[in-house]
Subunit: 686 residues, 2 copies
């Protein structure tokens, strides 16, 4: 729970406050004072009566009532101090920066639990332990540097790791990024990343709340809540960029050695972010660059104009934008002649618009105006303007500043001369702008933003799925593990997924009669064993009664075989759809073209249940093999709409049958009569 006392305290005590600013307890006071904190500040330190000009008490019980307490004392002393403050000093918010808790030892974990019980009992907030603290426009309760520009239009940063938050700030400051708040949640026994996000969502005010959120997450504890509040914020007009580290196998080990938390499967994270509309980043640079893109005007299309006074960077930018699926279209027609006549000879107006190294601020202005006013085909403008060090470029940056205010299209400033024109770049940033010093990093970030999904806004698709029947079937099942053939059929039928006709019998005569009804050729499979083909339990293309009789007799002698099942022999393109239950995330649905596409090329799309039709289509279309759906090399096209329907229905089935931990429909055949499940496996754990 996040309360007013944590976010906007009237009084703060630093327990362990010190005159030594090389210690956390000293540095926090320094940061609070330098931030002109408006309320009262106290320190607790048995050796001092005043600390950095702030009244200091020998012990906690001597304090007046105080709203927020920051603890910079050894872990073992924390539980008692928290209890005393909460019970006797009306303290309603705690920031514990001390380490030595659950992240280190079982004893530390016990201390942490004691603290948690106390704060929960008294209805107080708790940030940390094992964090750098919290800073916002009201108070700078952190013991670290750098302190960024704290600004109502700035970014809200929430980080699992304190040091990473610090290093994200290091990367952000040079780019001109401003912050509204920085939350380092540490071990997060009470307030974690999801809680801060929920708080930002609940307190969001359309007129005044900042709109950019930056997350560094090592462990997603509550994916549902992350999804709910992230997508809610995005629908309210916010933009969220996030790094979820621990994506590789060794990466997970590193994350786990750090926070004592098990890392979530990366596929699930990918699917969750896509569903929420979060832009996924993979480094601090990436995160801060994407956030810089967020600060600019919305990009409504994919066509970029590049205005530059240097050729090379414009070419690299064009290459990188194109690689990301964005365009730098040629600007043609008579309108270009007018612009050309206003620039120096040799200037290029085809896009990139190269105003030449000698191009003036007036040229820059004309080129930007041209893109803004004369080129409806252009959606965004990147401006590259550095300095070779001959003259100052303040006037050019003034033009850029003015145009960024005036123009309706977003303008991306690429100011590469961070050394030579360092002062001018700083002057530009001080006007409230950001800078992309490397054009290709800009392109990578813009690409991520333009290619990110919108948050899914849809409820669960129920059409065609018989939920009560699904629940009846699941409740009826008594054993765990792989379901019998009968239940698999029942569940797919209840989900409205068409299954191939099957007949099962342990009586030869009955089976041969059923085969006549189905019509030859048929496929015969043993009933009982899981890995049927490994024991010779599957025979395809049985053309005659005689052959089927022979196979029946042979199969019934195989181990664990209780009966033989027959199906019509279907021809078609193999598809694949499967699902896996990921603890805390729910079901990850996978789909792809079967056969080599899944087995050799690992060409698989993933999504998080429940899925909407739009999501299913976007999964199908993200496959490398998507072209196959339209039919190539004389093959019939595959019915994309029906495939999407099956994916959606499967996801709905799973949402109402969380007991299903794993399932595959494989093969799912796209035949000339539609897409039909030929075989399926379902594993249940209650």
């Amino acid at each position: 729970m996040i309360n007013r006392e944590l976010v906007d305290p009237q009084s703060i005590v630093i327990v362990g406050g010190s005159n030594n600013v090389q210690k956390p307890g000293g540095k926090i006071i320094r940061n609070l004072l330098e931030g002109n904190f408006k309320g009262d500040i106290y320190a607790v330190n048995p050796k001092e009566t005043e600390v950095q000009g702030v009244p200091c008490f020998a012990s906690v019980d001597m304090l007046p009532p105080v709203e927020l307490a920051i603890l910079a004392i050894p872990a073992v002393s924390c539980p008692a101090v928290v209890k005393l403050l909460a019970s006797e000093k009306s303290t309603k918010a705690f920031v514990i920066i001390s380490a030595g808790f659950a992240e280190e030892t079982p004893e530390g974990e016990k201390l942490e639990r004691q603290i948690l019980d106390t704060v929960n009992y008294y209805g107080a907030s708790l940030i940390g332990p094992n964090c750098i603290g919290l800073m916002n426009r009201n108070h700078r309760s952190v013991f670290t540097l750098p302190i960024p520009d704290l600004n109502a239009k700035g970014v809200d940063l929430v980080s699992s790791s304190g040091a990473t938050a610090v290093y994200i700030l290091e990367s952000a400051i040079g780019k001109g990024l401003r912050f509204n708040s920085v939350w380092s949640v540490g071990n997060a026994p009470q307030i974690g990343v999801e809680d801060v996000l929920e708080y930002l969502d609940r307190t969001f005010e359309p007129e005044t709340s900042p709109r950019i959120k930056m997350l560094y997450i090592e462990n997603i504890k509550d994916p549902d809540r992350l999804l709910l509040h992230a997508s809610s914020l995005i629908r309210k007009g916010c933009k969220i960029a996030a790094v979820k580290s621990g994506s590789s196998e060794s990466g997970s080990r590193a994350a786990s050695s750090h926070t004592g938390a098990m890392a979530s499967s990366d596929l699930a994270v990918e699917a969750l972010f896509r569903k929420a509309g979060i832009v996924r980043c993979f480094s601090r640079e990436d995160l801060t660059t994407v956030s810089c893109v967020f600060t600019l005007k919305e990009i409504y299309g994919r066509n970029f104009a590049i205005v530059t006074h240097a050729g090379g960077p414009a070419v690299m930018l064009t290459d990188a934008l194109s690689k990301g699926g964005l365009h730098v279209p040629e600007i043609k027609g008579e309108k270009t002649l007018m612009l050309k006549s206003e620039l120096y000879p040799g200037a290029s107006v085809a896009n990139p618009i190269d105003i030449l190294a000698t191009g003036t601020p007036e040229h820059l202005e004309k080129a930007i105006d041209f893109c803004e006013k004369e080129c409806p085909e252009i959606d965004a403008i990147a401006v590259i303007f550095g300095s070779p060090g001959l003259v100052k470029v303040y006037d050019a940056y003034d033009v850029l500043h003015r145009k960024m205010e005036e123009c309706s299209k977003p303008i991306f400033p690429v100011l590469p001369s961070v050394v030579t024109a360092g002062k001018e770049v700083e002057y530009f940033l001080n006007k409230g702008h950001v800078n992309f010093s490397d054009e290709v990093e800009l392109a990578t970030a813009v690409t991520r933003v333009c290619n990110a999904s919108k948050p899914t806004n849809e409820g669960i698709e129920l059409y065609g799925v018989d939920v009560p029947r699904i629940r009846r079937i699941i409740d009826e099942i008594t054993e765990e593990g792989y379901l019998s053939h009968y239940y698999v059929q029942q569940l797919l039928a209840a989900a409205g997924i068409q299954i191939v006709r099957e007949e099962v019998s342990n009586n030869k005569k009955v089976l041969l009669r059923k085969a006549e009804e189905i019509g030859y050729p048929v496929v015969a499979k043993v009933v009982g064993p899981i890995h049927k083909s490994d024991i010779g339990g599957v025979v395809v293309n049985i053309q005659s009664k005689k052959h089927l009789a022979f196979e029946f007799e042979r199969m019934m002698k195989l181990p664990d075989v209780s009966a033989v099942m027959i199906q019509p022999m279907l021809q078609g393109k193999e598809l694949f759809v499967g699902a896996k239950y990921e603890p805390r995330f729910g079901h990850i649905i996978l789909c792809g073209l079967g056969g080599i596409f899944v087995e050799v090329l690992r060409d698989i799309a993933s999504g998080l249940a429940p899925l909407s039709h739009n999501e299913a289509f976007s999964m199908i279309r993200s496959l490398r093999a998507y072209k196959m759906f339209r039919g190539v090399r004389g093959e019939a096209p595959i019915d994309e709409v029906q495939f999407a329907e099956i994916i959606v229905r499967l996801s709905t089935l799973l949402r109402f049958a969380t007991e299903i931990k794993e399932m595959d429909i494989n093969p799912l055949l796209a035949t000339s009569q539609g897409i039909i499940a030929v075989d399926a496996r379902i594993r249940v754990k209650k």
Copy 2:
């Protein structure tokens, strides 16, 4: 031609020299003076007798003899000045920074040609026009800032674009990168990127020459020479990183609007760089980061240890290294206990080794020593050490410095606190080191370096290829365009590539007799038209004499059909091999699995002829579908060795038949009797 007067002049004149350092002619003199140029400096300027303390002459003819002339005057005046200096003042080297030549107008192109003729006639060097100049440890003949630290162990930078060179320096300086020389070649009528590389190769001294080269190239004019000297330098122990911009379609347009040069096909560039062993980069940041990796000790394996005092960055680094195919293996066993006992409680030693935020310089030293001495499985060490701003970290950086000198394994410093610990980072850089401020950028660069090819060191593979016969066939061919069936067969036979048996006739009786010899089923194809299948000119699986007779009669009536060809009906997996002649680069060979892999998935590998067996194998193994070669889903494996042999032979054929502009062997069938060409097309232009 690059001569001593250009590289190490005893005297320099700046024509257009000025007191105004906001003008190129003023700034160059300032840069030369600040660089303590040892020789004589003169200026030519009709308005002055002294410029910045340097003797100034009213006109060029008043000058004493001078070795190097830098021209900062209008383009139109340049040809006469060059002529006068070369003929009367013994000037043997020219740097022309003026623009307004071939890059702008046809008139400018004429001026450029006049200058070129003059310098060539007098055996003088020419850098530019339209460039920023040249700087090395002898003289700083550039009009731009920043001037990097010029150092004998520094990088040689060669750039097609002057502004890009400047911005590369901007990106390099903050990382601590040093330079030995910076060459901006401008329009490069005489000295281009290839020429500088040739010069660096020819003058390379194992004991003293710097070993890192950085290239920014907009247009590869002479791929053969680039390949020759780049691979030669790399074999001598150098490392080369390069950006070749203009890789996208719109990117090419940008490059071409900039230099007036046609961009080369990107596939050819990719193949050329791989063959040469050049590490390809795609941005300035990328280029300078890779060059920083080059400055460190060689990496002999793929196993990284990470020593850190912050968890988050270590996780992101692990993720990024793993993504690039490098490993952060768990460090296990009793040896870890010893290290653990020497660190603070809570420290992690499993790799990443987390010495905790409170970890001391001694802890850092112990952890590095542990990786160096106790862990033979570890090939390289990344050290992450920033500062939250409490204390100065000079002592930690001293440890890092010492360890980087002492240890045999390469150590990669990640010092993220560029703001808070800016002074300490600078102190560390001043000891001659580089810094990777973002751990993921480091991982990306290290990945590029570790995954780069070694330069090919092999001659042309001639085994099995009958070169004289190839030449006889090519010389015999009189017409251009697609070759007749007869010549295609002849050429493939001469290259030792097995072709399916074929019989051609316009006589029904003869054809039916041949079919008996081949054996049914057969395939029949029309002879004459190029796109046979479009007109119903291909029929497969002809089982009988009667059917063949019918098809013969039908086919002979189709337009342009001169005869009918029959082949045995082969079964097997489709492969693809093709080639295209890329002007200046030679033949690009493409290979892949046929069918959907090429048509839908664009899963194609490319190489530059002639190819060695190693290169052919590496092409095959780079295919996403490579697993298919081992046989999947019950299909027979494909003979990789024979496929590689065919690719090599094809490349040899093409190397000796450059008249072939395009060819495809499609399908090339991997049958149970080996890999056999079933159809081929060859287009010739003499």
